[in-house]
Amino acid sequence: MRMAGVMTRCLGAAVVCLTLAASPQARGSDAPPRILLLFSHDRLLPANIEIEKGFRDALAKHSAPVDICSEFLDIVRFPDEAQQEGLMRYLNERYAARPPQVIVVLGPQGHAFVAANRQQLFPDTPVVIGAVDADRIASEPVLPNSAAQTAQWTVAPILRKLPKCRPDLRKVLLVAGDAPFDHNWIESAMADVAETETPLEVTVSVGEDLDTLRRKVAGLPDDSVVVYLSYFLTPDGIVTIPRDIGNELAKAASVPVLGSYDTFLGDGVTGVCAVPFSDEGLAIGEITLRLLKGERADDIGILPPAEPRFIFDDRQLRRWDWDADDLPAGSEIRFRPPGLWEAHRGAVLGGTAVLLLQSGLITGLVLARRRQKHVEARLRRSEGRFAGIFRGSPSGIAIVRDADGTLVDLNPAWEQLTGRSRSECVGRSLLDTGFLIEGDPAERLEAFLHSGRQLRGYEQRVLTANGDERLLSLSTERIHLHEEPCHVVMARDVTGQREANEARRQLARSSRLAMLGEMTASIAHEVNQPLGAILSNADAAGLLLDRPEPPLDAVRQILSDIRRDDLRASEVIRRVRNLVRRGETRREPLEIPRLIHETARLLDDSARKRGVEIGFELQDDLPEIRADRGQLEQVLLNLMLNAMDAMEAIPVARRRITLRASRLPEDMVRITVSDCGSGIDPGHLDRLFQSFFTTKSEGMGLGLALSRSIAEVHGGGIRAENAPSGGADFHLELPIQLPAHP
């Protein structure tokens, strides 16, 4: 076995030798390895300079010196394929004597060039691809014997992170030039916009001439920011250096300019979100090092892009008054001025003596001033945030001064809800702005604002400027603005939800009431049949009696049929009232307070929407009663709904239902539902509980009649009276013990 071991080792050594012999490093090992660095753009592009710097730094770590040759495709000046062929010939001729060990190509255009001409350009040399978009590389066939350090140029981090730190920002202008590269950038940026679903409003300027662009950025509103992508070519065909264009824009702009390359920083651009180019160069250089050391390019493969970071220019931050606290976490700030100590050492030492003399007074003043500035800054920031929320809220917000009911301010959403601009409305009262619907509780809403109550989800119909009627859900809150009492009114458009809410309300009601609605159709049908027969019989009789010799027997038969049908109709009506008496009454012990509260809760939603307050005055230690829960619920719901209906026409502030429960002598309890409406017409008092009596245009007139039936079945009764303070009281009186079934 020792023999086998030695054999294996020899074989192994032989294999290694063979491999070494085959590797490119074996060629010309005395001359330093040559690296061909192929750039897509021209020599002076700042990005190129930075990348090369990083690249050289990486290669400085190599054990032996390296020969780096840089060539420039200058693709913007020379985009034609014919010119590329010339370049290829040039490269082949130039490097024929000593071909490169590694070809490093930077940029998508260069990558395309190499890929297209792979067989003609040192086909056996490994290729390192850099500064190319990760998605782009993934979508193309993999170049054999190549490795890549991909990059990602995206505005997504800016779109995502900036609104969080600076909520006052609402608009973004994307800027790019007229070169194909610029256009591609815009496309990819728009894809980022779509992907991040940013709330910011994005507009685009692509391929516009510089004068127009300068004017555009000079006239931007305060809540916007410019994101400058690249500008390689003007629409007239002049080649430009993107960084210089960036600086010009930053100088002309009325708002901060952000970019996506770190090479843009330093002369006016406020900040960038990027992977510094020198870092890119470093990474590409490190791959090259690995290749020089003998790794196979295919083994290294395609490396993912690095994470970009935010880098800001301190001088610009100061220009725009951007607080360092408001920047995304992990932001780097460059171009800070040197500290006091570093810059003015001498003066500080000299002045210390003077300071020490006056230290007491001066220190105190300085500290106080700084504290105040800090507080002011915090206040400004929080006001800024409030302003941001106010402006950006999707709900309409308006501030009304209590003293005279005038509008102090309103936000864009309010403008949109009402169709009226801020300038039209500020300083005028709600009513004057024609906003509320007249004849409705419009003035009452105003009166309400003085009453001291808060609204929550109160529904108010409003008329917009172009005549549409909308339903708004309003909530109010009292605040003090500059020491003046005001109300903040928040409004949401719920016009579309009204139908949905109606349906839900139906379901929330007592199931028996819902059934009553269903029964209405069949009740009506059953009553209409006999009524129809009666009418037609009468008409027929009329015709028969017009004849010269009226057939009296036939007429008698008709009259008899009429009578029969009349009885039939009355029977149907009696059946409806008897619905309750069909032995369905259950008896269970009921706690009155719980019954009242739970029933009131069923109507809570309704009450809020109609601005009705519900109050409870329930005696302590009320006895339990034995009754049918569902039926009593039905009665209470009916009484409460009637009460709410009765108060439709009075001011919101006064709408109040009071539910009372008390014990009466002789083992009775009384539940009273009181409203603040206009009371019951004395002429109607006696007919109130009759079937089919109603003052409502769409009422069936069965509610109170049914309620009385239910009360009677329980051995009690219902009566109504007008309250001395206005409004009506409905008393439901029930015995504690149910009588034996009659």
């Binding site: 049949q529 129809g532 037609s536 008709i558």
Partner: protein, 208 residues
Amino acid sequence: MNMPDTPVVHLVDDDDSLRTALGRLLEAAGMSMRSYASAADFLLQRVEPLRGCLVLDVRMPGGPGGLELQQALVRQGETLPLIFLTGHGDIPMSVQAMKAGAFDFLTKPVEGERFLRTVRAALDEEARRWTAGRRRRELAARRGSLTPAESEVFTRVVDGLPNKAIAAELGCSERTVKAHRSQVMAKMGAASLADLVQAAGELGPLAG
């Protein structure tokens, strides 16, 4: 029993007293009527041809309803005018009925005057349709009596071709064409070319 061709008001309603009352009203107004207690009864007992109009309740629980009967009649190609009686809450059904081709609908309880007026209008309409239909049936019968050769000539004559052209197309003599032509005129009962073209038009696009 009424003569088969006399227009009759067919009354279908499952409510006995209403059916009786309406029947009385129709007869008091001098109209012939037949009543049925259900849609099924009507379909089983009906006479051919169906002349007059049909008054039916849209809602007849416990069997086919008015709308179903309407659909059945439509499927059978029956063109009798339908008058629906509807009660409270049946508006959607009424709309459906009208869209499916009902003549009119009345809500219960229905006023006598109105009822009779609507029925008379329906009967008038039916009479109009019947007459128009009869003429078409007659023309179709006549057309069917033409020989193949005569049929070929008929088609070309109403297209406006002169005899010479027809002869050339059919490959026969002008004299033969003329002979066929006079046969066609006789069989179709046309006194002139204008009449013949009119008849062709009434027969519809299938005439040619």
